[in-house]
């Protein structure tokens, strides 16, 4: 303060304005809290939306209704396999029966398979209209009156679109019989090849950059590091285009299996195989694995290395026996996160050439393929409502796979953290 004379003027000039500033502060806090709420709200809305379409009322007509197939009042779902086989023989034409018998005698198949056959070949359900869970719960009366009005011969059933049959049936053009088996198997195959390719190379690169290149700040080491950082930011579809040009087209003899003599005479060798997809995704997640592994190796205390050198170990012996085991939990966590990214990738695989319609299970790296996210994309893109429900069920399968992967990563991290003390 300047002294008694000028004090009054100072107080007039200086307006602390506290109430307004505090009010603004409170509003700011509310605004920031609202921002964080948006994230939680969106996540909940997303999950609820998917669940909403996984269950609901369905109006179905049957060619042969299940009631007609019950024997002595026992509904068809609870019949003994021998009775199911008997029903099949009763209702199917001789040609179809002969074709089925060639794959294996009917009486020896298990119950689930026979029920599935009965459903697809005898009962032949056809979906007329579907409703979401919210509609089914809140507008039951309206739905029931609508069904009796528009589809008198149809029945209204409350069903879940996510059933065990959904997981075991292959792709089909009829929504009533569609399943995700081919897609899930395709996804697993592609991810297996992706990791087999990207893990050794990624960890190897990280070891090189952190252990061998550390002392030498040459232009090539700096170039490699900058390059990896830039590659991590390239959109995934560019990797797809790269994979199309190199793995599918230029390396077609290798990726289609022609080099190994696996392409039958007369067919054109096609490079759009699981191998191409796996290599493309491998390139995509390589920067992620490298950066994570680098951080994990960097976190290993230097005293460990120095102690090993002091005992006379070579550089590689130190790395293999001391640095890597110590860094492995971090490396594994990073790899699992990269895997979950790879499972969810769609665009690069569409460009590389996933099949649009395939019913045969993939049998090896040289098969044509489709993956679960691509299946979801194809079903969502169709205009009919039925396919939105199928897509919702498939999304739940995908999210379950990702949840399992990430839970494994977290468990691994916690277990190793405990062990380290």
């Amino acid at each position: 303060m300047n002294g008694n004379g000028t004090r009054m003027q100072d107080e007039v000039l200086f307006q602390p304005n506290l109430p307004r500033r505090h009010r603004l502060g409170r509003w700011g806090l509310i605004l920031f809290q609202m921002s964080t709420l948006v994230g939680i709200v969106v996540l909940t809305a997303l999950v609820l939306n998917v669940l909403n379409r996984t269950f609901g009322y369905v109006a179905i007509t049957y060619q042969v209704p299940p009631d007609a197939l019950s024997i002595n009042g026992i509904p068809v779902e609870r019949l003994h396999p021998l009775d199911l086989a008997y029903l099949l023989r009763q209702h199917l034409t001789p040609e179809v029966l002969e074709r089925l018998e060639r794959e294996g005698p009917l009486e020896q198949r298990d119950r689930r398979e026979l029920l599935d056959l009965l459903t697809t070949k005898v009962m032949r359900p056809k979906v007329l209209e579907t409703w979401t869970l919210a509609q089914s719960v809140f507008c039951r009366q309206a739905i029931q009156s609508r069904v009796t009005r528009l589809y008198p011969e149809a029945r209204l059933v409350f069903r879940s679109w996510l059933t065990p049959e959904f997981l075991t049936r292959p792709q089909s053009s009829r929504p009533e019989f569609a399943g995700v088996r081919t897609a899930v198997l395709g996804s697993l195959w592609v991810v297996a090849i992706t990791i087999a390719f990207a893990f050794p190379i990624g960890v190897g690169t990280a070891i090189y950059l952190e252990e061998y290149a550390k002392g030498k700040d040459t232009w090539i080491n700096r170039l490699i590091q900058t390059n990896i950082n830039n590659l991590a930011g390239v959109p995934s579809i560019i990797y797809g285009i790269l994979g199309l040009a190199i793995f599918v087209r230029a390396l077609a003899p290798l990726t289609s299996g022609a080099v190994f003599g696996l392409v039958p005479e007369g067919t054109t060798a096609n490079g759009r195989t699981i191998l191409s997809a796996g290599l493309t995704l491998g390139l995509l997640i390589l920067p992620i694995i490298i950066i994570n592994a680098q951080e994990a190796i960097r976190a290993v205390p230097n005293s460990l290395r120095l102690a090993s050198y002091g005992l006379g170990a070579t550089q590689w012996q130190t790395i293999w026996h001391h640095v890597l085991p110590s860094a492995m939990p971090g490396i594994l966590t990073g790899t699992i996160l990269a895997m979950s990214r790879a499972i969810g990738e769609t665009a690069p695989l569409i460009v590389v050439g996933a099949s649009t319609f395939i019913t045969v299970d993939p049998s090896g790296p040289f098969s044509k393929f489709t993956t679960l996210p691509i299946q979801i994309y194809q079903w969502t893109a169709r205009p009919q409502d039925v396919f939105r429900h199928l897509a919702a069920a498939a999304i739940i399968v995908l999210l379950a796979m990702l949840l399992a992967l990430n839970a494994t990563a977290i468990l691994l991290r916690n277990r190793y953290a405990k062990r380290r003390g």
Binding site: T36, G39, L43, A45, L46, A381, I395
Partner: protein, 389 residues
């Protein structure tokens, strides 16, 4: 390597420690170096393949029907061709094709063309009357960047509709992601209690981990009906850029918030304490002291988010529309660069078609846009970073 003072036993040890391990070490070192070099080959591969096929795209000859025909039969040596008056006007220097022969127009008359025969390696031949005349054109660089129509069927290759849709979708995504992401970051670094942080960080990680197909499904089945309910069914189309933009914004929020929060946390506490000591409220400290101090990191976060939004594919493929459309109305359907690439590749592509080449040209544009943005963000961090030690 321990080399003990020479003694009979020490000599053996020394001999054992030399030799094989060292060669093995060198081999391992080379193997690891090759693994590291693979990443460089990836970048080289991207640039080379995109560049080569784009070159094909720009040098490829397209033939469009001029709606002119030969008015009379001609022999292999005739240099004056009688043509019908109908159809497009031809000019000197144009390349034309009749059947398999390519010719160059030297002079144009009312009903006749003076031509140089057998150009571009084709052989001169006799042609009957009534055959169609095709005019050759190339996709010119200028037309590529300034044309407002993308319709490969009729030879129009202007990238502006696709680029425009990309920019509009990105702009909408940024208006969602930047305020919310920054707000979350400020909350996490300045206000949040430990309990709130433990709830919020996993939520953000989950948001970041959801596959983009699922976000696309969300955009199509929830956001679009919501927009149509709010703004009216005749204002908002079933496929529109706005819902894709909003959902891309949500997708990008975790990226913005985590990078911004890192930047905000790096600001030393002494700055905040100094502000409090001068009587500033928490909000004033956050907005007027901490955020400007962390500016470089926040700017880098914004730029990386823009780059991510530009490269996003599945959400726009599902929710934004399936045909190029040059419009500034976000409620209309339009196709972005990435959406177009995906749509073209999901059909059956023959390797020599113009569509196949166009994918690479578009990919090259996309690659350069995102690469430039990433490099700018790294520069921004380096240039504006305040060092507090």
């Amino acid at each position: 390597m321990p080399d003990p003072t020479p003694s009979p036993a020490g000599g053996e040890i020394a001999a054992q420690l030399r030799g094989r391990p060292r060669r093995f070490e060198a081999a391992i070192r080379w193997a690891l170096f090759l693994a590291a070099a693979l990443s460089i080959f990836t970048t080289i591969g991207i640039v080379y393949e995109l560049g080569r096929e784009s070159l094909n795209f720009f040098t490829r000859q397209l033939w469009e029907d001029t709606n002119k025909q030969l008015a009379a039969p001609i022999g292999p040596d005739d240099t004056v061709l009688p043509v019908t008056r109908s159809g497009a006007a031809l000019h000197p220097q144009d390349m034309i094709r009749v059947e398999d022969e390519v010719m160059q127009v030297l002079a144009v008359d009312e009903a006749a063309l003076t031509v140089a025969r057998a150009q571009q390696g084709t052989a001169a031949a006799a042609h009957a009357a009534g055959l169609d005349i095709y005019r050759g054109s190339r996709v010119r660089l200028v037309e590529f960047f300034t044309g407002t129509q993308w319709a490969p069927q009729i030879g129009k290759f202007g990238i502006l509709p696709l680029l425009n849709a990309t920019l509009i979708v990105t702009a909408i995504a940024m208006t969602v992601a930047l305020p919310l992401g920054l707000g979350i970051a400020i909350y996490l670094s300045e206000y949040a209690s430990e309990r709130a942080r433990r709830l919020l960080k996993p939520t953000l990680e989950i948001l970041a981990g959801v596959p983009t197909v699922v976000y696309g499904y969300f955009a199509l089945t929830l956001v679009t009906p919501l927009l149509r309910a709010i703004f009216g069914k005749d204002v908002v189309e079933v496929y529109n850029m706005a819902s894709a933009g909003i959902v891309i914004g949500v997708l990008v929020i975790p990226l913005v918030s985590s990078m911004s929060e890192d930047a905000l946390s790096a600001v030393p506490q002494s700055l905040r304490h100094a502000a409090y000591a001068l009587g500033a409220t928490k909000l004033e400290t956050a907005l007027q002291v901490v955020v400007p101090a962390a500016f470089s990191g926040i700017a880098a976060a914004f730029i990386v988010a823009i780059s991510r939004a530009i490269g996003e594919t599945m959400i726009v493929a599902l929710a934004a529309g399936a045909g190029p459309n040059f419009t500034f109305n976000p409620f209309e359907a339009a196709e972005t660069i990435t959406g177009h690439i995906v749509r073209i590749s999901s059909g059956d592509l023959s390797y020599d078609s113009i569509d196949y080449n166009s994918i690479f040209a578009l990919g090259l544009v996309l690659f350069f846009m995102t690469l430039t943005l990433n490099i700018i963000s790294q520069r921004v961090v380096r240039k504006f970073r305040q060092v507090y030690d």
